[in-house]
Symmetry: C2
Subunit: 232 residues, 2 copies
């Protein structure tokens, strides 16, 4: 595999949303040669994968892979189970949009690819501030995964430390957006909505849309999101 002479490989989890697009830009700014991984996990919001393709292309990653993994087979989440509705209002506790063990599965797959590439660095755009109540977005979770990764792999046995970077974990949504704007991220390419239509337009009502819109407002950045209502 060809790479820049000074550039270490990293695997970046890329969902197509605002957060992971920013995490990718941060990885690139830190000089990593980025291999982007998206998971086609039976999510309702399929337009997300199109957004991931656009973001990967716009940011010039080394390689972008979309791996199918049928989490809908297990069900249990509004994002994969058509019988569970995506809520339009705020929710308490862990929301129904939580996908069981999603980040653990995604990080495990990123770890597998990293091991094959000889990469020691994983990037994930999780965020503990505006984290929607998901348990697998907390700093202690990321630390536990990093510890596991170093026990799980060839690298760990050979004493090469694997690092799991979660550069957004303590940022507010507004800070994430300001960072991305500084790094040239085109948020018009991203899609955060849990209930986007087939053309990739956001609903404007789900948890994810509300957090995102509030983030643009707080950052003082014009919201580039295409909403369903606007062009209906």
């Amino acid at each position: 595999m060809s790479r820049g002479a000074d550039s270490r490989p990293a695997v970046v989890l890329l969902s197509g949303g605002l957060d992971s697009a920013t995490a990718l830009a941060i990885a690139r700014e830190q000089g990593f040669d980025c291999h982007a991984l998206s998971l086609d996990y039976g999510q309702r919001h399929r337009a997300e994968l199109e957004a991931a393709r656009r973001v990967a292309e716009a940011q010039g990653v080394r390689e972008h892979r979309i791996l199918p993994i049928d989490l809908a087979a297990f069900g249990g989440s509004a994002l994969t189970d058509p019988d569970i509705a995506v809520p339009e209002g705020p929710s308490e506790g862990i929301p129904v949009t939580y996908v069981p063990a999603r980040n653990t599965i995604f990080l495990s797959l990123a770890l597998a690819w990293a091991e094959v590439l000889g990469a020691r660095d994983l990037f994930v755009g999780v965020n503990a501030v505006d984290y929607s109540g998901y348990p697998d977005c907390r700093p202690e979770y990321i630390e536990a995964f990093e510890r596991l990764a170093n026990l799980a792999t060839r690298a760990g046995v050979e004493g090469v430390a694997i690092r799991v970077h979660a550069p957004l974990i303590r940022m507010t949504k507004a800070e994430i957006i300001r960072t991305g704007v500084r790094l040239g991220v085109d948020y018009g390419l991203t899609l955060s909505c849990y209930a986007a239509d087939a053309r990739g337009r956001a609903c404007g009502r789900c948890d994810s849309c509300r957090l995102r819109a509030a983030g643009f407002a707080a950052a003082g950045v014009p919201d580039p999101t295409a909403y369903q209502a606007e062009s209906a």
Copy 2:
């Protein structure tokens, strides 16, 4: 989902090999209502999945799922990459049959299913004694995964402990076989070979075949394995 009144659900990773068949029998002996999960991960030894089906049926699991996950897309292992040969002699260090991050991926998927089922118990047949040098078969690895599982999930947030059972982890192969025989496991249904033929007959030469044959010899149990040479 219907279950026995006194029976707690557990998710058991079932490869079709000798170890996981024994782990399943132990989970059943402990009174768990077993949901068996096999992964169709692009392994060369596809006959393993047929063995998993036979074992699941013979042991009367509540449900057996085979989930496709294309680890061959990443390559890096003799078990998924046709360009890497399965070695016939003993190897030093981590062998080429090691599949990057395999147990982490499999346990993550088991965790996702457990969360949907409301199960708190996962069973995996890893073994640290005759473990072939795989990093993700060590007790400290299993402990780290259990810690992660309790941070990753709804159960963890709600204070319900998840347990990762690795009942074989400190047993020799002979002890595993004696335990399984006591519990009525029919090892003639299982397949451990990395290079089985299309009819599921073992090569008798790979690491896994050699460990298995030595285990039957040490346990003083007749080896029920169908070898390619016998019927060639």
